[in-house]
C-alpha cells in the first residue's frame, strides 16, 4: 500500500475525470468541447505539477469508439440487419448506402474505422459490380468486412485488398445471423481502445503505461472484499457515461473458459447513459421486457425521449437491467452467468452518483422475479465514492513493486 500513497491516480472517463490522492477521491465533469488533455490540465494542472511522471498512474475508458459505413442492397434486410449488429457491438454508424443508389451516394470525408458490405442470401449472385469498387476507392477506411451472399465472395475478394470475409448475416430464411460479424466488430473495438490520439497525449504527464479502466477495475476484484462487505460469488457492474462493463467471478460460468485470473469481464459498448445515450435507448427499445419494466417503474415509454434528471435515472436503471439480461439465460450471445447463485451485486461508475440503493433494488428485484422467477435478490452494494478503480490501481502498483524486488 505504501507505493500508492506516493502516487497520483487518474481515471479518465468519458464523462468524469476521477483523481485519487492520498486516499481522497475527487471528480470533475468533463468539458466535451475541449480535448481531454487540455481539459484535464486546466482542472488538475496544479496537482499534476506536484508529481513526477513516474508517480502518476492513469487509466481510461474514453477512446471514443469505432465508426462504420455500411453498404447493403435493401433497407428491409441487409442494411437493417447490419445496422442492428453494429449498434449492438457498440459501433458508431457514420453512414449507410443502398447499393442501387451508390452512384448518387457521397463517400464520407472522414476516415472510417470499418466498412461493412452486406447483401443477398447465399445462392444469389451478380449483386455487386465495379460500381462498388469505384465507390470504395473514394473512401478512406482502416478495415473492410464482407458478410453477404457466399456467391459474391470471389468477386469481392479479387477486387478489394485486405477484405475480411465472414459468414452471411442473412440466413436462407431471411433471419439475422449476427455471431460472426458481432465478434469481429467487438474484437476490433478492443484492439482500438488504447490507440486513440486523445489518450496518447496523456503520456506527456505520465511515465507509466496507461491502462484501460475495465482492466483496472477487473484487477480490483480479488481485493474488493477487503474494503467492501461482499462475498464470492459477486459481480461488479460499472455503468459509466459511454460504456457498461460487467466483471464476474468465473464460478458463475459453466463454460470451460481458460484464462488467467479468477475473474472475467464483459464490456457492453454503447450502454452508457450520457455519451452513448442514444444507443442505450435503442437497445432498450429492442428488449422484450422493457415496456413491462417501465410500467413497473411507473413511467411511460416517452421517458426514453425525455432529457430530464428523472429520465437519466430511468436510463441508469435500464442499463442495470439490460446488462443483467445480456448475461442471463435469456440471451445467448454473451457469456451466461449463474445469476441465481450470486451473493452480491456491486454497482460502481457514474451510476452511483444518481441512483439510491432502493432505485437499484427495485430494478434488480424486477429482473429476478420476471426472468429468473426468484423472490430473493442478492445483496446490493453501492460503491458510492467510485473507489473500486483505485483498488485495481493499488493491485497493479503493488504487483509492480513486488516484481521489481524479485532477484
Amino acid at each position: 500500500m505504501s507505493a500508492v500513497r506516493k502516487k497520483l491516480l487518474f481515471d479518465i472517463g468519458s464523462t468524469y475525470f476521477k483523481v485519487a490522492e492520498n486516499g481522497t477521491i475527487r471528480h470533475w465533469f468533463r468539458d466535451f468541447n475541449r480535448p481531454i488533455f487540455e481539459d484535464l490540465m486546466d482542472k488538475c494542472g496544479d496537482l499534476v505539477a506536484k508529481y513526477r511522471p513516474e508517480e502518476i498512474q492513469i487509466c481510461s475508458s474514453a477512446n471514443g469508439g469505432l465508426s462504420t459505413l455500411i453498404i447493403g442492397i435493401s433497407n428491409s434486410f441487409s442494411l437493417k440487419y447490419a445496422i442492428n449488429i453494429a449498434f449492438n457491438s457498440g459501433i458508431n454508424i457514420i453512414d449507410t448506402v443502398l447499393y442501387h443508389e451508390i452512384e448518387r451516394a457521397t463517400p464520407p470525408v472522414e476516415t472510417i474505422d470499418v466498412v461493412i458490405i452486406v447483401g443477398g442470401i447465399d445462392g444469389v449472385g451478380g449483386i455487386f459490380d465495379e460500381k462498388l469498387i469505384g465507390f470504395l476507392e473514394k473512401c478512406t477506411f482502416q478495415n473492410i468486412v464482407y458478410v453477404g451472399s457466399a456467391d459474391e465472395r470471389n468477386f469481392l475478394s479479387g477486387h478489394i485488398r485486405r477484405l475480411v470475409v465472414l459468414e452471411n448475416i442473412i440466413t436462407e430464411k431471411l433471419k439475422i445471423n449476427e455471431r460472426a460479424l458481432k465478434t469481429y466488430l467487438t474484437d476490433l473495438y478492443q484492439a482500438d481502445i488504447m490507440g486513440k490520439e486523445d489518450i496518447k497525449q496523456l503520456y506527456e504527464i505520465t511515465a507509466n503505461q496507461i491502462f484501460s479502466t475495465p482492466y483496472v477495475v477487473n484487477r480490483a476484484l480479488p481485493f474488493i472484499s477487503r474494503r467492501l462487505d461482499v462475498t464470492d460469488p459477486f459481480i461488479v457492474i460499472d455503468i459509466g457515461g459511454a460504456t457498461t462493463d460487467i466483471h464476474y467471478s468465473r464460478d458463475l460460468v459453466s463454460d470451460n473458459i481458460t484464462g488467467e485470473g479468477g475473474y472475467d469481464r464483459l464490456v457492453f459498448k454503447k450502454l452508457g447513459v450520457y455519451k452513448s445515450r442514444e444507443s442505450l435507448v435503442h437497445t432498450a427499445r429492442q428488449n422484450e421486457f422493457v415496456y413491462e419494466l417501465l410500467n413497473h417503474l411507473n413511467v411511460t415509454e416517452n421517458v426514453l425521449e425525455e432529457e430530464s434528471e428523472a429520465a437519466t435515472k430511468v436510463l441508469m436503471q435500464l442499463a442495470i437491467f439490460l446488462v443483467l439480461y445480456k448475461v442471463s439465460r435469456h440471451h445467448s450471445e454473451y457469456v451466461e452467468l449463474k445469476l441465481e447463485n450470486l451473493n452480491n451485486i456491486v454497482l460502481t461508475g457514474g451510476i452511483t452518483k444518481v441512483l439510491e440503493k432502493e432505485d437499484a433494488e427495485t430494478i434488480i428485484r424486477f429482473f429476478y422475479k420476471k426472468l429468473l422467477h426468484f423472490h430473493q435478490i442478492p445483496e446490493i452494494v453501492l460503491d458510492r465514492n467510485y473507489e473500486i478503480w483505485t483498488y485495481g490501481m493499488q493491485a497493479i502498483l503493488e504487483n509492480n513493486e513486488a516484481t521489481k524486488e524479485l532477484p
Binding site: 428491409s76 437493417k80 430464411k173 431471411l174 433471419k175 439475422i176 429492442q286 422484450e288 421486457f289 415496456y291 413491462e292 410500467n295 411507473n298 413511467v299 411511460t300 416517452n302 422475479k369 420476471k370 422467477h373
Partner: protein
C-alpha cells in the same frame, strides 16, 4: 394521476390530433344511443348481422357509402382505415387526404380517422345511428382506438397476434401485446359507461391454408387477453376454409372451446359471439362465379349459426370494390339469409374430436410456460414455434408448419414444425392427405392460391 391515465394523455397529445377532451368523450359515451353498440344488437336480435367492408379517404365519400349501405339493409357499417394511418404515419395520411379532397381522387385506401378527428367523424356515426366496426390492421392502435371510441365506433377489430403476424414483418411482438393491452383497457373502461364495447379478433389470419387448430388457438388467446383486461363482449371469428364440413366443424369447436376457456379463466359474465368471413382468398374473374361463391358462403354462415357475417363482392378480383358493388353484396346476402331458415344441425364427431384435441394440446403447452403473465406465455410460445401462422411474413414466425388440402378440400397439417400437437392428432391429420404420384407439395400450395378462380 394513474400511469394509465398519464399514458392516455401522452398518446392523445399527438401533433395530428387537434383536440381531445376526456371528460366530454366520457359524457358522450355515457349518453350514446344503444343503437351504436353491436353488443346491444347481439343481445336484442336473433338475426345474423350483415357487415360489408369499405372505407374512403374523404368524409363525403364515406357518408355516401353509408347511405348506400343503409339502403341495402346493412346491419353493421364498416370503417376501413387507410394504410398510412395503420402504420402510424399520420403526416403522409394528412397530405394524401388533402390531395384526395382537392382533386376528388382517392389517394388513400381508407379513412384517415386521426386526421379527420373524432368530432367530425362522430357527426357521421351518430347520423346513421348504426353500429360501426373499426377495421384497420394496426399493431399500435392506441391512438386510433381512442379516436374511434370518441367518434362513437364501439366495435374494434384486431389483436396483438392477428393484426401483427399476417400484416407485418418487423414490428416487435412484445410491443404489439402491450399496445393492445392498452386498447383492451380503454375498451373495458368505456364498457362500464353504457353498453359493452365489443372487441373482435381477426380469424382469417394470412387467409391462405390456415389450419383451424391454429386459428382457434389464436382466437381463444386474443379473447382471453381481452377479457383479462375487463372487456365483456368479444367476437371470435374465422373465414371460409373452402370445405363446408371443415367450416361446420371449426364453428362447433371454436364456439365450444372459447366458452370453455373463458369460463376456465373466470370470465363467466363475458358474452362471446361468432363471426364468419366470406372467402378471403383470391376471387374468380367471372362475376357470376363470384356471386355463387358469396351465396355458398352465406349458406355456410347460416349453417354454422354465425352471429355476424362479413361480406365480399362480385368485383373482388378487380381491385377495391365500388360502393354500389358493396351494397349489392349486402342486399344479396340479406336475401339469401332470408331463405335459410330452419337448417339442420350438422356435425362430424371424429373431426370435432381431433380438432378439439389439437387446440387443447397447443393451449396446454402455452399455458404451461413458466412466464408470470398470459401475454408473455403466448409470446414465448410464438418464439418457440409452439404457435405459428403458416405463410406469415413476420420475422418471429417459425414458418415450419406446412398445410395442404386433402381430397375433400379440408386444410390439413402436413408438417407440424414445433406445434405441440400429439402424435395421435398429427397421425389423424396426415392420414387424410393423399398426394398423387409425382405431385409436389409446393405446386399444390401455389395452386391453392387460385383454388376458387
Amino acid at each position: 394521476m394513474s400511469l394509465f391515465r398519464r399514458e392516455r394523455e401522452i398518446i392523445t397529445r399527438n401533433e395530428y390530433v387537434d383536440h381531445f377532451d376526456f371528460d366530454e368523450i366520457e359524457e358522450f359515451v355515457k349518453n350514446a344511443s344503444k343503437e351504436l353498440f353491436i353488443s346491444h344488437r347481439f343481445k336484442t336480435s336473433d338475426a345474423m348481422q350483415v357487415q360489408p367492408r369499405g372505407g374512403f379517404p374523404t368524409y363525403e365519400k364515406v357518408f355516401r357509402l353509408y347511405e348506400e349501405f343503409k339502403e341495402a339493409g346493412v346491419d353493421v357499417l364498416p370503417l376501413t382505415i387507410d394504410s398510412n394511418t395503420r402504420l402510424n404515419d399520420y403526416a403522409t395520411a394528412k397530405k394524401m387526404l388533402a390531395l384526395s379532397e382537392e382533386n376528388d381522387v382517392d389517394m388513400l385506401n381508407g379513412y384517415p380517422l386521426i386526421n379527420h378527428g373524432y368530432r367530425t367523424t362522430r357527426k357521421m356515426i351518430t347520423h346513421f345511428d348504426t353500429p360501426v366496426s373499426l377495421r384497420h390492421g394496426t399493431p399500435d392502435a392506441r391512438l386510433l382506438v381512442e379516436m374511434a371510441l370518441a367518434s362513437g365506433i364501439f366495435e374494434i377489430e384486431g389483436g396483438p397476434i392477428t393484426y401483427l403476424l399476417p400484416y407485418s414483418k418487423n414490428f416487435p411482438l412484445d410491443k404489439a401485446f402491450l399496445y393492445w393491452k392498452y386498447v383492451e383497457k380503454v375498451c373495458a373502461l368505456y364498457s362500464k359507461l353504457n353498453e359493452p364495447i365489443n372487441r373482435e379478433s381477426f380469424g382469417p389470419l394470412s387467409a391462405t391454408l390456415q389450419p383451424p387448430a391454429i386459428v382457434i388457438v389464436i382466437q381463444i388467446i386474443e379473447m382471453l387477453l381481452s377479457l383479462e383486461e375487463g372487456v365483456k363482449s368479444f367476437s371470435v371469428s374465422f373465414s371460409q376454409t373452402g370445405s363446408m364440413i371443415q367450416d361446420v366443424v371449426t364453428a362447433n369447436v371454436i364456439r365450444k372451446l372459447s366458452r370453455r376457456y373463458a369460463d376456465m379463466f373466470g370470465h363467466h359474465d363475458a358474452d362471446i359471439h361468432l363471426v364468419y368471413h366470406q372467402w378471403m382468398g383470391a376471387f374468380p374473374y367471372n362475376k357470376e362465379f363470384s356471386d355463387a361463391l358469396i351465396t355458398a358462403s352465406t349458406v355456410i354462415a347460416a349453417m354454422v349459426g354465425a352471429d355476424k357475417i362479413i361480406t365480399k363482392t362480385r368485383n373482388e378480383a378487380f381491385g377495391i370494390p365500388t360502393k354500389e358493388a358493396n351494397a349489392r353484396a349486402v342486399a344479396s346476402v340479406k336475401y339469401t339469409l332470408g331463405m335459410l331458415k330452419g337448417l339442420p344441425n350438422v356435425s362430424d364427431e371424429e373431426e370435432e374430436e381431433n380438432l378439439t384435441n389439437m387446440v387443447n394440446e397447443i393451449m396446454e403447452a402455452v399455458l404451461n410456460d413458466s412466464a408470470d403473465t398470459l401475454w408473455r406465455k403466448v409470446f414465448n410460445a410464438i418464439k418457440k414455434g409452439h404457435i405459428e401462422i403458416p405463410f406469415s411474413p413476420h420475422v418471429i414466425n417459425a414458418n415450419e408448419v406446412i398445410t395442404i388440402r386433402d381430397p375433400q378440400e379440408n386444410i390439413r397439417i402436413l408438417e407440424r414444425g414445433k406445434l405441440p400437437i400429439s402424435d395421435r392428432s398429427f397421425a389423424f391429420e396426415r392420414s387424410k392427405i393423399r398426394l398423387k404420384e409425382g405431385e409436389r407439395v409446393v405446386d399444390k400450395i401455389i395452386k391453392d392460391i387460385g383454388i376458387m378462380q
